[in-house]
Every structure is written in C-alpha cells, then in structure tokens.
C-alpha cells in the first residue's frame, strides 16, 4: 500500500524543478530512454506525483543509471522536463541518504 503524502512536492521543490505534475503518464520518456530499465524514468516521476516518498528512496538506485542524455526532455509532449526532474531527485536522494 502506497500512501499519498500531499506535501511531498513542496519538500522536493528545494531540490529543483517542480514539473512532475504536468506529466500525463504517456510513457514516451520510457520509450526513448536508452537504458534497459523497466519504466524509467516514468515510475519515479509518477511517485513524485502521488508523493510516494518511500518508494522513491527504495528505487533510488535507478537514478544513478541515468546518462543525462536529455532524450526524454527533448521528446516529452507536455514539457515536463523529465531529465531535470531526475536531477532534482538525485539531490533529494543524496540529502536524505541514511536519514531514513
């Protein structure tokens, strides 16, 4: 069971862009991502949308596979800037490391 924490978006704001909620979950970013990783980066962006803080930390290893090639940001039809959101999540993960 994942519980929605409504204020997570506010917490994340100090680490960078707050564009995750513009995403409409089409999965284009997953399709163009050169990494062979299931549902990356959409899964993490979805966790931001619903404020699933713990799920992000559980899956934070995925963040470090990202090559920052920028393809997802280039192709996102909503301009949700997934590449930048992943960077924000990295900062969040580092800041939260071992505080869990």
């Amino acid at each position: 069971m994942t519980r929605i924490t409504p204020d997570f978006a506010k917490e994340l704001k100090q680490y960078g862009d707050d564009t995750a909620l513009i995403c409409f979950n089409c999965g284009t970013c997953v399709a163009v991502c050169p990494l062979i990783s299931e549902s990356f980066p959409r899964r993490l962006i979805r966790y931001i949308q619903i404020g699933a803080r713990d799920r992000i930390l559980e899956n934070s290893n995925d963040l470090y596979k990202c090559l920052h090639c920028g393809l997802c940001t280039e192709t996102c039809p909503r301009g949700a800037d997934p590449g930048e959101v992943i960077l924000s999540l990295k900062r969040f993960a580092v800041a939260t490391w071992r505080k869990m």
Partner: protein, 627 residues
C-alpha cells in the same frame, strides 16, 4: 383527389403497356460487376416494357433527361430506374417525372448497386439484377397515379419542458412566426441548467444564460408560458394535435388538486387544478434529464456527509467565500478533495449493481469529465493549497475548449489516478489519526497497478445523466424509447431531431446526455424543423396508406384489431339496400402504411396504396418467371 373506386377499376382494367426501364452504370460501380447491356436486352423483352435504356449516370442531368423526353413524347407512362438504393435517388427520379408533367408516383426503383454489384460478381450479379428489374417492372405495370395526402396544419407549436432546450426552442419558433405554448411542470424556467453556477468549458454564468433566454421568451407576445403544468392528454395527428394541459396551484403534484383538499404537512389547496385544450400543430419534447442519484453506500454516499454529488458540490462552491485563504464548506476546512469519475455511467453488467429493474446505465454521460475538471480547476485557482485527486477511468473531454480543461487541471497540479471498472476506488473512514474523515483506496493504473490510498476531507462523485422519468408522455404519445431509456430519434445522423411520430420533435437532453451547447443546437434544429413543417399552413404526407374497398368490406373488424396506429382505422355506419351495416374507414393522416390490416382482412377488402397485394403478386410472378 380522385375517387378511390375509380382507381380500383382502372387497376383491374389492365396493366400498363408503356413502361420505361432505365438502367444505370453508376460509372462502373454497377457495370464492373453487372452486364448492364444484357440486363437492358432482357428488360426490353419483359411484358409491358416499351423502352429500355442505359446511361453511365442516371442521376445526372442527361440521365434524367432521358426519362423526361420519353414521358413528354408519350412513349412511356410508367418509370423504373435500376440504380443505387432508393434512399439516395428515389426522390431525384420522382422529381424528374414531376418536371415532365407526370404524376411522380408512377415510379418504381430497383436497387442493383447495394443489393447486387456491391455484394455479387459475374453471372450471379447480372442474374439478380435482371430479377430485381423484372420485379420492379411487374410492380410498375400496376402502379397508379397517387396524390399526397394534404392536411391543414396549425401554425402553432407546443414545447414540453422549460429548461434551456425548451426555452431555446420556443424562442427560435417564435422568431419564425410560429405561435408557441411552453409547458413547464415546475413553477420555474431554467431546468437543470439553472442548478449550475459557471458552465464548462468557458465559464459563463448559468444565471446570465437562463435569464437572457427566459426574459426573451417571457417578453414575446406569441409565446404563452404555462408553468405548474403538465400534458395529460394527446390526440390528433401532424399539424392538428389537441393537447390537454393541466395546471395546478400546489407544489405537491401527486395529490388531488381540488380546492379545499388538505395536503399533509403542506396545507389546504385554495384553487382547483384547471385543464386547457391546446390546439397545436407540432410538439417539441424538451423534457430533459435527471441527475444520477447514487445508491446508499455507493462510494460511501449517504453514509458520510463528506461524500457529495457533483451538482451538490457545484452548489456548495457557489456559496464559498473566495476571499478566505482556505476552502471552507459548511465551516469545515477542505484541504483535500477526491473526485471520482463515471459514477452512474458506463456501468458494466457483472461488475456494477443493477437497479431494481435489472437495469444499468451503460452509456457515457459525456458532460461529467468536463464538468468535474472545471470544478477542480475552480478549486485549485481560488485555493491552490487544496489538494485535488482525480480518480478517472478515462478522460473524455471531447469538445471545443474541453481538452484544455484537462491540460489546465494538470498545470493546476491536480493529481490524476486511473482506476479500472472492476477495481473501482473504495471510500472508507480514515484511520490515520489526521482530521481528514475519509480515505480513498485504489489500484492505480498510472502507478503500475500499485494500491494507493489518500486521506481526504471531501469526496465528489461525478454523477451522470439519466433519462427523465416521463412514462405518461411516452405511453400517451407512443414515443420510441432507446435501450438507454432516453427518447429516440428516427436516425442519429440523417434525422437527428425527428421522432417516428410525425410532427413530434426532440430537443436537448430528453434525447441523450449532452452539453448545454449541444442541447441548444438540438433545440434550434428542432424548432427550425417544426417551423418549416408548419409554415406552409398545410402538411403533405406520403400517399402510401391503407384503403378500404367498401363493396368488399364485411365489417368484421379484424383490421381495427390489427391496426398499430390508434385511430387510423375506424368503423362507420353505412346505409345499404339491406339496412345500415358497419364498414371500416381509414383516417389517412394517422395511417402508418404498415399493411397490418391488409394482412388480416378475410375478404381482401383492404389494401395499401402503392404497395397493393396485386402488385406484390406481379413482382413475385416476374421473379419466378422462366426465361
């Protein structure tokens, strides 16, 4: 009109020997599969055929000219065209015959495209085309000149229902010089639209819309508005309907409406109900919809006051003080709202609970996605700190300006969660210790089908539309009703506001769930259709109606029992040498031309004009004839 007896004698006297047959290539559509010239050669040999011709497009001017020339030169007195479906060009060729100065009903049509060349190839196609042309020739040989039935029409229409569609229809009719009676059962004009605040997607005030329309309607001399009124009697036929309208003076419509009668908890009625007969030419049904009322316990509805329907929420939002920093409803702070789509719509057998009649609303109500996203945007734009969670099955913001509502909702940081019908969200009491009273749990399709839960202060159900309950009108006026319980048009595209009952039209959500804009479109269309029907002062009806041979009629009455249209057949007393006897008589304006009476008459005294038994026999003879 000629005396029917004369015509019968003429038909019996012999068959036409001057039939013209015109066969169309349809530019290859037919001739690629049917040997059109062979069909022509065969047609020329058929009994009664004087002329047989072909053309690459019979519907073209040169094609029609062939028919006109032959008629004018006296070569032919009956016409058969073998081409596409009669729904496409029957009227075209009847028109050509009329332009040649002949009676347009001396015509029969053989469909050798849809029924032949589009479904058969080679010899089979040519064979069937010959048979169909033969049948048409057989029928044509017995065709008689007919005159359309002409009935006087009152330049007066009645609109039932004073919602936005009824108001719009009344206004458009009045503008076209038709006198209108608008019958509304409640004391008010405006209907369901009056219960809204701002209207999706552009945000106009419904109060302004309704007021503008209602003021216009009330100010017109040729519109009579009857509120507190309902139609309790319906008689007559197109152009000449008599409606009985009952006007009551008490709100409690289910009670006896006589002066002095005591209605429990209300009081004593001071004025008796009155009844009026409205003489009218056409009726527009604008009886509207009713908002779906969730079952007790459906998403917690009725069990917790924090679960409300969208119409209730719209009303609550219209009373909210926007200058406050937090959304407050009934002095309760609302920090998070769950909105659930498709409540009472798109129900699936085996998944959703049927009502007591075993019925489900399987249709999409079409307006709720836009309406609830409009409400969500309103909340987020006034109170950005209130979290809105939108639980949807599919988003169907389909019209102009509506997809933008969805975009806007995402930009306003509405959180979307997607559920499937078999795993609908579950609303329960919240137990996490926060002051949010409710918890919504869902298997979220957007989060890879993980179970997700959220605590909320309010649950808003996007309830759909159901057909208004008008069983009395339906049975009295014999109105066709669809499987979705809404009133049904003749054809969803080609006759979208017309009903099978001639002279009765449809406006607005009586027909199907639709937006206010669509309801107004439909209402305007129905009004213009009505005006064009009535404005000539008379109505012409197809002459294909039953006809009684008074010499053969035994007065047995089997036809009257079989008749599907009330009043189309009646018994009359006829004086004969043996005294007064009963014989059947047709009221042409009411006859549907279905032939049910002709099928049951033991003495074959009743027949259909233009579709007589003899004509059918001639058709069959031609089909089974050996070469």
């Amino acid at each position: 009109m000629t005396d029917p007896k004369e015509k019968t004698e003429k038909a019996e006297s012999g068959k036409s020997e001057k039939i013209g047959v015109y066969i169309c290539y349809c530019g290859g559509n037919i001739s690629d599969h049917v040997d059109v010239e062979k069909v022509r050669d065969e047609a020329e040999k058929m009994p009664g055929v004087a002329v047989a011709r072909t053309n690459s497009f019979m519907c073209s001017d040169p094609g029609q000219e062939l028919i006109i020339e032959d008629l004018k030169n006296g070569l032919i007195d009956r016409v058969v065209v073998a081409s596409c479906a009669p729904s496409l060009h029957e009227t075209t060729f009847r028109g050509a015959i009329a332009r040649a100065g002949a009676n347009p009903y001396i015509y029969d049509h053989a469909n050798i495209r849809e029924h032949v060349s589009w479904v058969l190839h080679g010899e089979k196609a040519t064979f069937k085309a010959e048979k169909l042309v033969g049948a048409a020739v057989g029928k044509a040989s017995l065709l008689q000149e007919l005159d359309p039935i002409r009935v006087d029409a009152r330049k007066h229409a009645t609109v039932i229902g004073g919602g936005i569609a009824g108001l719009k229809a009344a206004k458009v009719l009045a503008e076209r010089g038709i006198d209108v009676v608008l019958v509304e059962k409640s004391p008010y004009l405006g209907g369901n639209a009056a219960r809204l605040d701002t209207i999706a997607p552009f945000g106009e005030k419904s109060a302004a819309l309704i007021s503008e329309l209602a003021e216009d309607v009330l100010a017109r001399d040729n519109i009579t508005v009857m509120t507190h009124s309902k139609v309790i009697g319906f008689e007559g036929y197109v152009g000449n309907f008599d409606l009985t309208v009952q006007t009551t003076f008490a709100d409690a419509a289910d009670h006896e409406q006589a002066a002095g009668h005591y209605i429990p908890t209300v009081g004593v009625i001071t004025e008796s109900a009155t009844e009026h007969i409205i003489e009218t030419g056409a009726v527009i049904l604008a009886t509207g919809f009713k908002s779906y009322q969730p079952r007790h316990g459906e998403y917690g509805f009725g069990e917790n006051s924090a679960v409300v329907t969208l119409p209730e929420f719209i009303k609550q939002m219209s009373e909210v003080d926007p200058s406050k920093t937090e959304l407050e409803i009934g002095s309760r702070k609302i920090r998070s709202i769950a909105m659930i789509h498709c409540v009472g719509s798109r129900q699936i057998p085996g998944i959703h609970e049927e009502d007591e009649d075993g019925y489900l609303n399987e249709y999409c109500s079409r307006t709720c996605c836009s309406a609830i996203l409009h409400a969500a945007n309103q909340v987020k734009e006034i109170f950005p700190d209130t979290n809105v969670y939108d639980f949807y099955r599919d988003i169907r913001t389909y019209g102009r300006g509506q997809e933008e509502l969805y975009d806007q909702a995402a930009n306003n940081r509405v959180v979307f969660l997607r559920y499937s019908a078999e795993d609908s969200p579950v609303v329960t009491a919240n137990d996490d210790g926060s002051d949010a009273p409710l918890k919504v749990t869902v298997k979220d399709g957007l989060t890879f089908n993980e179970e997700v839960e959220v605590a909320v202060d309010l649950v808003v159900l996007a309830t759909g539309m159901e057909a208004a309950s008008i069983p009395e009108l339906v049975s009295m006026m014999k109105l066709p009703v669809g499987t979705d319980k809404f009133l049904q048009e003749i054809h969803p595209k080609l006759a979208p506001v017309e009903m099978a009952v001639s002279g009765v039209f449809l406006a607005g959500t009586a027909q199907a769930p639709m937006t206010i804009a669509e309801a107004c479109n439909g209402a305007a269309a129905a009004a213009v259709k009505t005006a064009s029907l009535l404005s000539k002062g008379h109505v012409e009806l197809d002459p294909y109606v039953a006809e009684v041979d008074q010499n053969l009629c035994q007065g047995g009455g089997a036809c009257i029992e079989a008749c599907l249209a009330d009043g189309a057949l009646e018994m009359q007393d006829v004086k004969t040498a043996e005294g007064t006897v009963k014989k059947a008589r047709v009221v042409p304006a009411l006859c549907l031309g279905c032939g049910a009476c002709a099928a049951v008459c033991p003495s074959r005294a009743i027949d259909l004009k233009g579709w007589s038994l003899k004509q059918y026999e001639a058709m069959v003879d031609m089909i089974v004839a050996e070469d």
